[in-house]
């Protein structure tokens, strides 16, 4: 299935300047795998060493946080847009 992954401003330098990468994937996990295979510099920005999503990164699918669905196992449909959103916070 063809899925578009939206890359946010601070991560675009790690994706060759692109704001969107098209991947073939059936789950959020396989979309991330395909994304970091195509743009390896994104891996440490998105994933912890154990392969889980970094806490500073959110993934939104059709307006919903995938953590509130099945996380990385959330299934994807053809034409879905997965949006990477950096956590913005401070003190």
């Amino acid at each position: 299935m063809s899925v578009r992954v939206r890359i946010p401003t601070p991560l675009r330098p790690y994706a060759g300047g692109r704001n969107e990468v098209a991947v073939s994937a059936t789950t959020v996990q396989s979309a991330l795998d395909a994304l970091v295979a195509e743009a390896p510099e994104l891996r440490p920005q998105l994933l912890a060493e154990d392969g889980t999503l970094r806490s500073f990164v959110n993934l939104y699918l059709n307006g919903e946080d995938v953590r509130t669905r099945a996380g990385l196992a959330t299934p994807l449909a053809d034409g879905d847009e997965l949006k990477v959103v950096p956590a913005i916070a401070g003190g």
Binding site: P8, P13, F56, Y60, P86, G90
Partner: protein
Amino acid sequence: MSLDAGRPVRLAAQAEAAIRREAARAYPHEGCGALVGPAEGEVSETLPLANRESASPRTRFTVAPLDYLAAEEGAEARGLRLLGFWHSHPDHPARPSATDRQYAWPGLLTLVIAVERGEPRDLTAWDVPGPEAPFRQVELQVGP
């Protein structure tokens, strides 16, 4: 990916006024907003954002992910770029905190404004030149 060393950030006067107004309005809580402009280092406007921090809004700020997306996508739909974020430090200096560094992203500009007893004071600009780098202060030029 980061601002060139020594390269000042230009901030439109009306954007600076909006930051001061919003920071005062948010007091004693932290206020925050997005910085938008036509090119890196050129902030032409700010978009006020809600501080979604519920536990400690006087000492923390949080931008909701959907608010982030609305700011970034809204700017790009108008041919502009999301350049970074500003937030206020109620009754604290306009210097990034340890928490600010924890959440900082290289490639996003950080503006910090001090608000003393409700009055907006110093406004400073910072960037992070690399993933493990500390904040670096950059010159802020306010103009038309």
